[in-house]
């Protein structure tokens, strides 16, 4: 099946700005789904609110466009009711870690078999470019005309500490790599988090003088390095990319099934 067959083509061209990284994440995700040969009817995508959350309207899977930050809560419900389905939950940085921060850490703690994709553009794009908990220090935003003083979350470290059993990071420049990590994350049994750095040329790029979309992609090439690479060893300030955690742990739906069996005393 071609990538286009997974799209609701009647909604195209999409609403994202020219050069927005979210389109590249969508493309990487569809390539991953296509390469895995998953059926449309076996996939559920839930999303919250924001530019990134519009993604669930463009894919021809089962989709839920839900409350701000609550995509993972809805996904948990769907997964427990129908454990055979594949749950994909793309979220923006604010959606995942500010408004939905608690849902994020608790889904990770339970290790429920859901694939969370954090499309990190470091800004609230849809509402006009306010800074988010992932903007970082010394960044300009509409709500930070004198630069931000807030430290940012590290998605990888947070997910790792909260108990996610698969954690990876990539960027929109490294589209092939993103597809590979997304494939692994979907196949992984347990809670998997893939952070994809995604450019917002309209707000973040313009305010922080990072240039247009191609320049921002170039920046991802220059400021990131593969885990275990010489470049990262020489310059630890680079943002590491790669798979940070990949381990097997008891999955929540399976544990729940075991509990039901135990409670029923084998009568089920």
């Amino acid at each position: 099946m071609a990538i286009k067959d997974y799209l609701r083509q009647r909604f195209f061209p999409h609403i994202w700005c020219p050069g927005c990284g979210h389109g590249i994440v969508l493309s990487s995700l569809l390539h991953a789904v296509e390469e895995l040969g998953l059926a449309k009817n076996d996939i559920v995508m839930t999303s919250g609110i924001g530019c990134s959350a519009r993604i669930s309207g463009y894919v021809d899977f089962h989709s839920l466009h839900t409350l701000h930050g609550r995509a993972l809560a809805f996904a948990t419900g769907v997964k427990l009711a129908k454990p055979a389905l594949n749950l994909l939950v793309p979220m923006g940085d604010g959606d995942a870690l500010a408004i939905g921060g608690n849902h994020f850490i608790h889904a990770a703690r339970r290790n429920i078999n859901i694939t969370a994709i954090v499309m990190n553009n470091r800004i609230y794009g849809m509402t006009g470019g306010q800074f988010s908990p992932l903007s970082g220090c010394g960044k300009r935003a509409t709500t930070a005309p004198f630069l931000t003083i807030d430290q940012e979350f590290d998605v990888v470290k947070l997910a790792k500490a909260a108990g996610a059993s698969f954690v990876a990071r990539s960027t929109t420049y490294h589209a092939k790599e993103s597809t590979l990590y997304l494939k692994k994350a979907i196949m992984h049994k347990g809670f998997s988090v893939v952070e994809i750095l995604s450019q917002c040329p309209t707000h973040y790029g313009r305010k922080n003088k990072e240039g247009d979309a191609p320049d921002m992609l170039e920046l991802y090439k220059d400021t990131t390095a593969k885990l275990g690479s010489k470049a990262l060893e020489k310059n630890p300030d680079l943002i590491p990319r790669g798979i940070f955690v990949e381990e097997e742990r008891g999955e929540y739906c399976e544990e729940y099934d075991k509990l039901v069996d135990k409670a029923m005393g084998g009568a089920r």
Binding site: A2, I3, K4, L7, F12, P13, H14, W16, C17, P18, G19, C20, G21, H22, G23, I24, L26, S27, S28, L30, H31, T172, Y173, A175, K176, T179, P201, D212, A213, P214, L217, E218
Partner: protein
């Protein structure tokens, strides 16, 4: 991997928003913007079918169709 040969570079002009990502990162400068700021293939004969334009296009507007593969119907 066998060298792939380009069959067609399909660019959906209605979906392209002219961001220029494909043009900047094309290793053989196959693509350019036209007067309406839409991407067009000006030198398709130079295409090496790396498909990076297709993978990085934020508008999902590019499709690189090669002689081999893509459902197998072009296979020789």
């Amino acid at each position: 991997m066998a060298k792939q040969k380009l069959k067609e570079l399909v660019i959906n002009g209605d979906w392209c928003k002219g961001c220029g990502i494909c043009i900047k990162f094309c290793p053989t400068q196959v693509l350019e913007l036209d007067r309406q700021d839409r991407c067009i293939a000006v030198r398709p004969e130079d295409c090496i079918c790396c498909k990076m334009c297709e993978l990085r296009c934020p508008d999902l507007a590019i499709e690189v169709i090669t002689e081999k593969g893509e459902g197998g119907d072009h296979e020789k």
